[in-house]
Amino acid sequence: MRTIKFLLQKEFRQIFRNKSILAMVIFMPVVQLLILPLAANYEVKNINISVIDNDHSSCSQKLISKVTASGYFTLTGYNYSFKQAFQLIEKDEADLVLEIPQGFERNLVRENEQQLFIAVNAINGTKANLGGAYLASIIRDYNSDIRLDLIEAGRFNRQPTATIVSSNWFNPLLNYKLFMVPGILAILVTMIGGFLTALNIVKEKEVGTIEQINVTPIKKHHFILGKLIPFWILGNVVFTLGLLVAWLIYGIVPLGSVLLLYGFISVYLLAVLGFGLLVSTFCDTQQQAMFIMFFFMMVFILMGGLFTSIDSMPEWAKVFTMFNPVSYLIEVMRMIMLKGSGMKDILKQLGTIALFAIVLNSWAILNYKKTS
């Protein structure tokens, strides 16, 4: 037991003496947490639209005003030729082109139907879809308006309509930051915990101090504990910093129990650190460790449910997600912070992560125990 005390003393001294690592551990997460949620936003607004009005009628004018007044679109081009408007799309200065054909108003009255031509830059499928949908819904509205104008009231049966009354629970303002901040925090904690642990041990290997440790009567599991504990504490520090930033800057206060949050993070950190440990047993140089950790982190992050929804993934991907600790953390963080979920609700995730922690750490210790 005493040995652990000495090991911890040494680790903390080394960590605090290393100013750049310290700065990075504290500074970087805070900065990223400040900037990234602002940037991460799937809402689609400020769509650039170029309109070609070949009709110049009061009807077409009405349509154009409706489009620009909607708030979704910014008019970046007006009345160029189709070729010019097309070039605007090529240059990324317009995302959509709306062309109103000549004789639109006249022909609508005479033939009872007309078409509008829309070209959309569909490279970003989501943006194109939503942009097209917004425009289509504006046109639909416009259609009913025109219909009412052109027809005397009461002359024909109003069509039955149904509307949706929607309520958004847990995030009534549809604040995207509420969604992103817990997720980004989860990723930052994971990266720091994982990377630092892996690098630290491999560095001792590279420099040779690990041989010195191996010759001493320090038990392997004491050594591992001596590595785990400081970074576990660091992980919690980063998490706390993150929560503070979430509260002070974004006004996000966990709806559920903060204690439960910390409880889960504590177990999660053990799993992540265990993973870093495990990776370090396979690497001889810091470069390798970094690279391998990076590879796994990247896959975990991309498939963790932060940027895209796990439910939409194909079956094989969902199976993979079961082995991805980050996905559990992101899910639980959102559940506790935004929905106020309690212990009962996250029992399954907690159990799984605890299992990960045990397996990963045991495997790492096993690897270290092997003398060549």
Partner: protein, 246 residues
């Protein structure tokens, strides 16, 4: 009659088809300064790692301070000290912090640590450097510090793996003074080195070639046997036929 603190019998280490250490057998008596020589790639480091409990042998037997290298590695580690080529002190900790850490690991209590630590520092003349980061010390001081830390817990045997690389002759001489001092206190020294003049400082030396021990005797006897005047020449005679180089 001295007891044998190191005893090996046909100690062997194989890595797949490659036999790094090939059935070496020898004994080291208590209080000896035993030189373990050999060309690069001869198998010295592999052998030493087995003796330190860092590596399990493929076959053969060995006991260190009476403990078996197969099953009692933890007890072996408590009884030995070790200093590697890279010196293995924590470069980003201070002198005192390194002393406290390694002393504490070996079970020295607070009071013992204080006393021994101060003793060590006074002896090495490091009073002014106590709070300095080890990385900033000149090489010679690092070496002496490393050795002192290795004997802090009064081990029975100290293993030194090429400890004097890269320092001036004066410092090397001072280092050997430290070694002799430990010997006077009953410590056995097991040292590998490339410096043939240091070989002369040893009680006995063994020379490994291609995994086997080709010579084992006092420096004086070896020089007579091969009819040469320096250890350099003894070494050259034995090692030049070696098939393994680094």
């Amino acid at each position: 009659m001295s007891e044998a603190v190191i005893k090996t019998d046909k100690l062997t280490k194989r890595f797949g088809d490659f036999v790094a250490t090939n059935a070496i057998s020898f004994e080291v008596q208590k209080g000896e300064v035993f030189g373990f020589l050999g060309a690069n790639g001869a198998g010295k480091t592999t052998a030493m790692r087995m003796l330190c409990g860092l590596s399990i042998p493929s076959s053969g037997t060995a006991t260190i301070a009476g403990f078996d290298v197969y099953g009692q590695t933890e007890k072996i580690k408590k009884s030995i000290g070790y200093m590697s080529q890279k010196f293995s002190l924590y470069e980003d900790l201070t002198v005192m912090e390194n002393i406290r850490f390694f002393g504490g690991i070996y079970g020295l209590t607070g009071q013992q640590l204080k006393n021994k630590g101060n003793e060590l520092i006074t002896k090495l003349g490091l009073q002014k450097e106590v709070k300095k980061i080890v990385g900033s010390l000149p090489l010679g001081w690092k070496q002496k510090l490393s050795f002192s830390v290795a004997v802090l817990h009064n081990p029975k045997i100290v293993f030194l793996d090429e400890p004097t690389g890269g320092v001036d002759p004066v410092t090397r001489r001072q280092f050997w003074d430290l070694i002799y001092e430990s010997v006077e206190n009953g410590v056995t020294i097991f040292i590998t080195t490339h410096y043939m003049d240091e070989a002369e400082y040893c009680n006995r030396i063994s020379i490994m070639v291609d995994g086997k021990i080709e010579a084992l005797d006092t420096p004086h006897n070896l020089k007579e046997k091969y009819k040469v005047t320096s250890m350099d020449d003894v070494f050259y005679q034995l090692a030049r036929g070696a098939k393994r180089g680094e």
